[in-house]
Point group: C2
């Protein structure tokens, strides 16, 4: 039943399989149908989710009202708006299901109780946060040092499944370019 969640808790070696099973016991099953919002702008994020099936998109609006994709979530990832969740502030981001999704969730209160009761889970939680931070730093560096085409091929390698679930205009804004430019980059790339 919860074997993927347990496996995820165990991978970092911060949690033993036995403890992982106990911790997993506190997670509850969640389904998010395609196009439904896991989190809406203006609300306080109250859900921590381990995504087991499906894909999600994180997006915000810029000053001109354009939809900007700030992230994607794929299976075996934690879906969480860190700032809103931990600071209990209104989210500036939306999280929406690109496909029908399934996963295991905790509320803010449940997570805190579990952090308190299970030091290993607390360590694991820090690990998740540190990893998210590191991943974002890597992405920032690629925004600075790489061309749009390099970022495109990078995403194609690291997360090919996204291309089967998200429209190209969402991927374009995630890469920091327009859909027009992405279309041209794909054209050039396909020649090679």
């Amino acid at each position: 039943m919860k074997e993927n969640l347990i496996a995820f808790l165990t991978t970092s070696s911060l949690v033993t399989p036995e403890k992982a099973a106990e911790i997993a016991g506190h997670f509850t099953f969640r389904e998010i149908p395609k196009n439904a919002f896991f989190l809406e702008e203006g609300k306080i994020a109250n859900n921590y989710l381990f995504l087991e099936k499906g894909f999600m998109r994180v997006f915000a609006y810029d000053m001109d009202g354009n939809d900007v994709t700030t992230g994607f979530a794929a299976p075996r990832q934690v879906v969480l708006e860190v700032s809103s969740f931990f600071n209990r502030t209104r989210s500036q981001e939306n999280i929406q299901a690109l496909t029908d999704c399934e996963g295991w969730g905790l509320t803010y209160d449940e997570l805190n109780q579990l952090f308190h009761a299970r030091p290993e889970f607390r360590e694991f939680g820090r690990h998740v946060l540190v990893n998210a931070f590191t991943t974002l730093k890597t992405r920032m560096l690629s925004m600075i040092t790489e061309t749009a085409e390099q970022r495109y091929t990078g995403l194609l390698n690291t997360n090919p499944a996204i291309f089967q679930h998200a429209p190209l205009k969402n991927i374009a804004s995630y890469l920091g370019i327009t859909d027009t430019s992405l279309s041209r980059i794909r054209k050039e790339f396909s020649k090679k």
Copy 2:
């Protein structure tokens, strides 16, 4: 003596002034002379620093060997290479003093002991990490949605002191542009 450190620990309201004084007691004074490295690429970050005086620069090298500034540190900020420090992995980044610096530090072991002994400090530590993550997300969004000139004026507003301590080419790579472009942007901007 440690009043700035104590004030910093107290600002989030996660630590009471009394506890803050106790926690601060475990920090040791550190000086980093101008141009010295607080952290060198390839080494494992072992120091957590609250910067009290001076400015530092964080940088890495891209695939072509170009120096890319990934961050700056100003007084009253935590200086820390998160990934290397918490994961005990070799740093891909360098942290160098732009000016003579002074601050209060902890080693990795000292920080963990303090996290264990002082739950409030653990909460505070998470708060620091969450804030760093949120700040980086904001910067990422500005890379995607803003022009180079907007990013320049943004930095000028949020961190004007950096312009007095870092060479423009470092600021340029931090903004994701070349020093040539930054020079032209400054020229245009000064006309207004």
